[in-house]
Subunit: 204 residues, 3 copies
Amino acid sequence: MVRLLPKEVKFFEMFEQMSSNLVLGASEITELLREFKDTADHVKRIKEIEHAGDDITHAVFVKLNSTFITPFDREDIHLLASSLDDVLDFINAAADRIMLYKITAAPAAAYEIAKIIVKQAEALGRAVKNLEKLKDVLPHCVEVNRLENEADRVCREAIGRLFDTEKDPIALIKIKELLEVLETATDKAEDAANVLETVVLKSA
Amino acid sequence: MVRLLPKEVKFFEMFEQMSSNLVLGASEITELLREFKDTADHVKRIKEIEHAGDDITHAVFVKLNSTFITPFDREDIHLLASSLDDVLDFINAAADRIMLYKITAAPAAAYEIAKIIVKQAEALGRAVKNLEKLKDVLPHCVEVNRLENEADRVCREAIGRLFDTEKDPIALIKIKELLEVLETATDKAEDAANVLETVVLKSA
Amino acid sequence: MVRLLPKEVKFFEMFEQMSSNLVLGASEITELLREFKDTADHVKRIKEIEHAGDDITHAVFVKLNSTFITPFDREDIHLLASSLDDVLDFINAAADRIMLYKITAAPAAAYEIAKIIVKQAEALGRAVKNLEKLKDVLPHCVEVNRLENEADRVCREAIGRLFDTEKDPIALIKIKELLEVLETATDKAEDAANVLETVVLKSA
């Protein structure tokens, strides 16, 4: 059924779907971290969004394996899909930690990093939307990288404070891991931006 | 000396050797975790099995670099060998943690996950055995993925319980890491299954 | 401006720059860990060295994307640059942990591992210098791998002792992480050596 559509467009559409889905997931965990209300509902929705993401990622891989001519390098299509999928995996991992460790409050930094992930997802969405025309992609990639640096700084300062103030080692282990998992999601978004940058540079 | 053999068969044989060796390693750590008896002996055997695995992996890489025509894509041969090797590395890492942290008991979940790794190794062995004919590979890959999900659930529930019951933070750090390292071994088995799936899909 | 130079030489020169820069970074963290004096100054210099490394890495990627014929396989150039960059990233991550966790003393093992990273960086430098002629590369790769094994042993013994002697869980978390981050830097150096080995084997 895919065969009738121009193959080039389809990959781009799939990446747009992945980005939109990523915005949903990032928004959901931001909402969760904002006030820790209805935690189980948010976690359930994040899991559903992650499953939807897995389905699109899998569809990209299947299509890649059955497509002879691809709109850009095969390995870059694979890497872009994998890294977009990874962002959502780490959002889901953060949600999991909250349930598993019964976390009912977190430093404001956790919420700040989640908001940064939303901004990265939106910037990735703009970059992916422009990818086919190869115009106005790079500025959004630069923005994703800038946001990663910001998340990194927020995370480190928060962990530094945690070591100063949290005297319960078990509570410290829980919150440190939550912050690190969220920060890793921003690293994965940077990986996706780097693939997009590579695609643009190769085509220059 | 390799030159006289048909090259196509040889890669498949090597992967069968890797799978058989992996079953050995997984069985050994399962035995260790079952009752924590003769720990040093089990750890020593696991290390020997891991070294044997390294030798086969290295032989695959050397052969890959000296072979012009390969039975399936070079990068997939590389990835398959690496991911099979990774499973054994994490089994060995778990054994190491037991010695290093002087762990003398662990939640039943550790034993459960080890048994799951054995089942994954056996399923990978069946998939690899059928790889040359490209028949009856996918169902075993699906089984490896299903087992990874099961290990993931077992690990998370165990860590959740650990945070509820283990009040000694240092003991918690030790057991949490042991469980996570075992669970990572099941992730690596899933990576290997995904490569096998890719090989089959590409050839379709 | 790059076009007038022989392309083959330029990549090799860049890798030599990366290796020299890596020796600088490794020496700086060794000095820091030797006596924990002027910590902030050392950390600042490590950050500068890491930024310089990022610039060279980025230049390699840009050149790779704009070069049609490369002196060795594109993916190996990419992997070599990435893994050399990773070593420095983990040196920087160790320096960060020292500041962030306000670490003012560490087991001698931390200093020992840092000295091993210096030796690995020097061996990588020798391997890279000989890469163009493809002569006398492998022995230095073997040395990098041997050093990784040594660092691994030093790290594990130190963590074993830490669990025996450090009764403050929060102090244990800090030092364990510092040792692990340093040890990961030696793993990344081994990755770089493995890429170099692959390049030599492929050309045989």
